[in-house]
């Protein structure tokens, strides 16, 4: 393979490091006169009013977990969609079996109240 194709990326990385490094170095060289206004985060920053490291309520984890499972399971639909036309009815039946299983799991979770925000 030809590594030269990646030369622009390397050049870009070097340029990025150079600019960043230059700014950091220059800021150390000149005289510093700190005042409260300069120390504040700016542009998009709102001052933090609560501790930064918050504990998430456990329900958040529960919802996130369920999301991960149901989200990833649907990844199987893409390859099936690709070969759907060639395989016809059997593929459709298998797809239905899969969907019913997933939906049943969702119904179970729902019925057991895991989706309620307490």
């Amino acid at each position: 393979m030809d590594l030269y194709d990646y030369l622009p990326i390397v050049a870009f990385m070097i340029a990025g490091l150079a600019v960043g490094g230059a700014i950091l170095t220059l800021s150390r060289i000149g005289p510093t006169k700190p005042n409260p206004a300069k120390e504040m985060p700016y542009e998009s920053g709102i001052l933090a009013t609560t501790p930064v490291r918050q504990r998430f309520p456990i329900d958040f984890y529960l919802t996130a977990m369920l999301f991960i499972v149901f989200d990833i399971e649907l990844a199987f639909l893409y390859p099936v969609a690709l070969v759907m036309r060639d395989n016809g009815i059997p593929a459709l039946v298998l797809l239905l079996v899969f969907t019913v299983t997933v939906v049943e799991a969702l119904a179970y979770v729902w019925r057991k109240g895991a989706l309620e925000w307490r």
């Binding site: 019913v100 299983t101 049943e104 799991a105 119904a107 179970y108 019925r111």
Partner: protein, 479 residues
Amino acid sequence: MNIAALPMMILIATAVVALVPSLAPPGRVRHLGPPLVSIVGLVAAAGMSVLLWGDRQYTFYGAFRTDRLTVLMTLIFIASALVTVLMSLREPATVDRRGEYYSLLVAAVVGMVLVAGTGDLIGVFLGIEILSVALYVLCAMEVWRARSLEAGLKYLIVGAVGSALLLYGLTFVFGATGSVSLEEISDIVRVRGLGGEPLLMGGMALVIAGLGFKASAAPFHMWVPDVYEGAPTPITAFMATAVKAAAIVAFLRVFSGALIDVVDDWQMPLAVIAALAIIAGNVGALVQQSFKRMMAYSSIAQAGYLLIGVATGTLLGVRSLLYYLIAYTAMTLGAFILVAIREREVEDGQSIASLAGYGRRSPLHGVVVTVCLFALAGFPPLSGFIGKFMLFGAAVEADLTWLAVVGAVGSAVSVAYYLRPIFVLWGEDPEPGNARTFDPGDGLWVASVLAGLGVVVTSILASPLLDYCREAAQALIAP
């Protein structure tokens, strides 16, 4: 599509349906629905499997093969699951979450059947993972008991590492051959002569390590006693039998099936692991006070005996292995019956000492456990003896005489710890009548009878069974 995958489809449907009754309002439906659905589904799948005994059939575009080995293994898994369902009926773990418990149990069987009949490497990994993920949850089912949770978490971490090793190994096997289909791999390895090819060797080493974790063979066994002790007893019995059988059949499909032409490359590592497991298991079991921990170490040693059959790489070895697997399933399930009862009666019901005098109180369970332990210790004419004898014979024939010697010595040592519970069981109860009595119910009674019958039948009908086992082994290795 033909009907060869029907048993697996029935099992999937069972797992899906078993969840439904538990959504009903509290009452009989909710309580008895899931186990009933599971039993019906398991029996139906077993019946369907028996009908499929015959030449190889392909389903799912070759991804699933139904041959005699698949059928035999499916029956072993289902038998183990049935006894587990019966043992679980009054298990506290199932009280509040019957749907999940039975559904997951059947789902684990689906994974095992997939491993047994898989046509490609994807199925090996997927099947092992389906059963593992279901069992992580089942181990931790008694969420109010710290030990059960701990067992689940430990099993999860160790099992996940094992899965990752297995996956990386399978990846290398795929990389070395360029195919995931087990049959194509077999052809490619033979035609290209891939013996000693580094990528394939690395892959095989990783697969052995990964499956070694799942089969709980030494040196990958450190987690076994803790997990077996912490898990609910029926689940422990299930893990010791069906899960081990699934890992062994994965070994068979990958090594004895697809990679048989490079047998010289994998025979010695497997033989060493088998020997280590026999030594570690038998020595570890000697000092245990808890019956469940003792059985855990015993199951490590048994994994070693079973791996002898894989390591031989011969038809005779695989046949003996399959027979021993059937016998082992029956005797191990039976041995756990008493703990499942005793645990509910006294605080330290897991300890061997707490079995004192139980044989006289409940002769049926006492006799079954005694027979099972005798069979595990390898007393003639019981099936355990026949199986071990055949396995060691196969090892000698495959020029692994040293392994047969290790096995025989280990087997002799094992008599010591298998006999101890029997003496305690039929001895005096030092403090009679101070325990509350637990009514084991019909489920455990039936489970006990089934396991006892299993041991007796496998012993008496050894020669027809061995014929079936040879036919199943021929699905793997041409005679």
